[in-house]
Amino acid sequence: MAYLFNTSEDISAMLATIGAASIDELFAPIPSHLRLTKPLAIPAALSELELTRRMGELAGRNTGVEQAVCFLGGGAYDHFIPAVVDSLASRGEFYTSYTPYQPEVSQGNLQVMFEYETLICQLTGMDVSNASLYDGATAMIEAVLLAMASSPNRSRVVVPDSLHPHYRQVLETYLQWTQFELQTVACPDGVLPGDAWSAALDDSVGCVVLSQPNFFGIVEDLAPAARAAREAGAVVVGVCDMISLGLLASPAQWGADIVVGEGQVLGNPLQYGGPYLGILACRENFVRRIPGRIAGQTEDRQGHRCWVLTLQTREQHIRRDKATSNICTNQGLFALRAAIYLALQGPQGLRETAEHCSWKTDYLRQSLQGHERFTVRFEGSAWRELVVQDRAGDVAGVLEHCRQQGVLAGLALGRWYPELDDCWLVAVTEKRTRDELDQLINRLNAVPQSSDLAHA
């Protein structure tokens, strides 16, 4: 058996010590009428060799982003991951350890958590970071719930529709069981509509969510929108891309009170959507209510500097139904990867990575200029992502044509924005080369008109 130890001799000796006649006798506490009387209908065991073959077969039926040219984004991005990240995070001392309940034998993990928290504070300009949550979308939920808990007598949450549609869907899922009401402000030009935004704000709004860049890749000066929200007494939650912060103003600077983000971009593989890394950091005044684990500095009894899990009275294992959140985990391994990634990048590396994304996105924009069929949909300044419009209105045909040529050209927007069903979202990370961008343009030039497709 794959990973077991006991020999038949061991089993006999152990049963003798227990005073049981058989292993079956140990299950006597389970009433027999509640027992399963047939074997599980699960295929027979595979040896490592067979399992490796099976997994190879399944993997072979997928096209990973390493085999295609990938312009997919929409909240998960194909950034470069240095070897150091994989190598260090695959150390068994990290990945086969658990929550640091015994700090004496967990200083490695606790110090990593403390370093991660510091790095996130440096990046966002916030005072405090937790040790991570599930992913970007659920981190945003926790931030909204934290904001609303800090805004008594206010019931509305206001978000622009340029916020990631999945994040808005998750928000709807969670808020339907609360007294809070979600209001979505339309952004027909791809950016926050100044007047409509201000009009949505009054003293019933407990929290607003602003995103930089927004789902369409557009970078805005968010300071006025954040100021308007704070003047109305609302807490400002910022959803930020962590790579972009190498280049863009920190959310503390434009006025966010709580910052969340998807940490997948910080050295974590795409893995078909998870596990990812939910980043949440905030200003000092929210600290007693912040969800999730936090490592803090202290001293041991010899006076050595060390780290422990702290402020645990916020958490569910002590507060139970009064806890600020039901979160009982952090994405430790992925926070570790993010810490290694940021330590390797440094301020200069992160800035250059963000700049490469800018330049390549801009190259794509320039390449589409004057194109007779395809055009860039929104005016705003795009970072890493761009909305492209097909004047012929056949986005599905365009994407399928490119896919067959080995190019994953982007994400159709119609499923989330019916008014943009002639548009798709193209992501360009620092990994994409000029050749690949030219290849995308060439593929687009070669797309048959939809009438041709119909006859093909």
Binding site: L36, Q67, Y95, D221, P269, H317, R320, T329
Partner: protein, 485 residues
């Protein structure tokens, strides 16, 4: 031998001008970013991150890793956490190209192998639980609880019923009541009897037409199977309520008993426990849920389905509660689960539970003469010993024993949980330990109990630090490094 220089904080090791990761020169025009973005959106002050060389980073984290105990290096009998061996093959297979590098929103046609894997895994989860409908989306056990409670709330809403209460035994994980609150339910605590079972009188007095869900961990955190589970289910079902099973302890009953057969309507798995997903220093886990077919319409979207020969991510379920995760859940953990289940097969999974229960009972039989185990001659996958007698007689606490075990090279059991047992020490050996290891652990425990109290109060003495001041950490929290203290 310990390298204390390399384990200074990253920020203390840094030096201005050091560089690691370098990008190639840009192959496209490098328009100044001031021309691309509004000035107010740009960073004008330098970014405050440490500057290090690649060698600094590699040595730093390698040395930090050596300060951890882990399953790869130590016996880790942490009750309730199921710290079993994490197969190396699963790491390699989950990192195959075509598995690790799939984008969550790529077309279904380009991810058929992944979708097939997930579809098969759903059927395994359904088979093991006896509950046919599966959602892979929840990212952790607590997230699974929350998602299932939302599905239950949506079901009752659909029936036009207002139910406000969730009943929870006093020995339950803290996540149960915390999850109930997030779905707007009121948590009602149900007392346990002295033998650890649910107090049926207390239950009967609290069940009514307002009862939405009874949440139970079975086998319980005390390592006991709740024999009255079918009567409990009957009582709850008679008022139209649902039974939720916290699947934290599934390692005891794989192929032996199925929650769906003993009355549960909904449950979550903790694949990082039961199916050996590595714990990663505190995560990631996963929290897939299984429910009865009448609850299927309410499960989150999207779901993996099969139409003809093609697999799809399908979001078209009008009654669904919505989405609970940014994408499809913790797929990387679920891929490891798939590998684990395939490596054992149906019969092998039953053997896993048999060996886990054998190991736990063996450890129990050897420890009972040393330390009182208040509940039970026998146990399932774990048991809870108590140091309360020792505390009274010799001033030795569960914490002292836990700390001294570290000196002997063993991770401590879970201490002070469950809350219903004073000076609790919860031990779960799992099936991936040998008799020799279990014997060595018990021998060490015996030795520790013969040591004088002062030695134990002074423990641990062989670890890098000893008994950090947690009160100070909470009173004057320092949660980030700063250049000027």
């Amino acid at each position: 031998m310990r390298n204390t220089q390399a384990t200074q904080l990253l920020f203390e090791l840094a030096k201005p001008g050091r560089r690691a990761n370098m990008l190639p020169p840009s192959d496209v025009p490098t328009t100044p970013t001031e021309k691309l973005y509004p000035s107010g959106a740009l960073r004008h002050e330098p970014l405050e991150l440490p500057e290090l060389s690649e060698g600094d980073v590699a040595r730093h984290f390698t040395n930090l890793s050596s300060l951890n105990m882990s399953v790869d290096t130590h016996f880790y009998p942490l009750g309730s956490c199921t710290m079993k061996y994490n197969p190396k093959r699963n790491e390699r297979l989950a990192n195959l190209p075509g598995i690790v590098d799939l984008h969550p929103l790529q077309p279904d046609e380009s991810a058929q192998g992944m979708l097939e894997l997930l579809y098969e895994l759903q059927s395994y989860f359904a088979e093991i639980s006896g509950l046919p409908a599966v959602s892979l989306q929840p990212a952790a056990g607590a997230h699974g609880e929350l998602t299932a409670l939302m599905a239950a709330a949506a079901y009752f809403r659909d029936l036009g019923q207002t139910r406000t209460k969730v009943l929870i035994p006093d020995s339950a994980h803290g996540t149960n009541p915390a999850s109930a609150s997030m779905v707007g339910f009121q948590s009602i605590t149900i007392r346990s009897r002295a033998d650890g079972s649910v107090d049926m009188d207390d239950l009967r007095s609290k069940v009514d037409e307002q009862t939405a869900v009874f949440m139970i961990t079975n086998p319980s955190t005390l390592g006991l199977f709740e024999k009255q589970i079918d009567q409990i289910a009957e009582r709850i079902h008679s008022v139209g309520g649902l039974i939720y099973l916290d699947g934290a302890n599934m390692n005891a009953i794989l192929g032996i008993a199925r929650p769906g057969d003993f009355g549960a309507d909904m449950m979550h798995y903790n694949p990082h426990k039961t199916f050996s997903g590595p714990h990663g220093g505190g995560g990631p886990g996963a929290g897939p849920i299984c429910v009865r077919d009448f609850l299927e319409p309410y499960l989150p979207v999207p779901r993996v389905t099969k139409v003809g020969e093609a697999y799809r991510m399908d979001a078209d379920y009008p009654k669904a509660i919505g989405r609970v995760h940014g994408f499809h859940g913790n797929i990387g953990v679920l891929v490891r689960t798939y590998c684990y289940i395939r490596a054992y097969g149906g019969k092998g999974l039953r053997n896993v539970s048999e060996q886990a229960v054998l190991n736990a009972n063996y450890m129990l039989a050897r420890i009972r003469p040393l330390l009182p185990v208040p509940l039970g001659e026998r146990c399932m996958h774990e048991f809870v010993a108590s140091a309360s007698k020792l505390k009274k007689e010799r001033g030795i606490t569960a914490m002292d024993i836990a700390k001294r075990l570290l000196d002997y090279g063993f991770h401590a059991p879970t201490v002070y949980f469950p809350l219903t047992v004073p000076e609790a020490m919860m031990m779960e050996p799992t099936e991936t330990e040998s008799k020799e290891t279990l014997d060595a652990f018990v021998d060490a425990l015996e030795q520790i109990l013969s040591e004088d109290a002062d030695t134990l109060h002074a423990a641990p003495t062989s670890t890098p630090i000893s008994r950090p001041d947690e009160v100070r950490a909470a009173r004057k929290p320092v949660m980030r490094w700063t250049a000027t203290p």
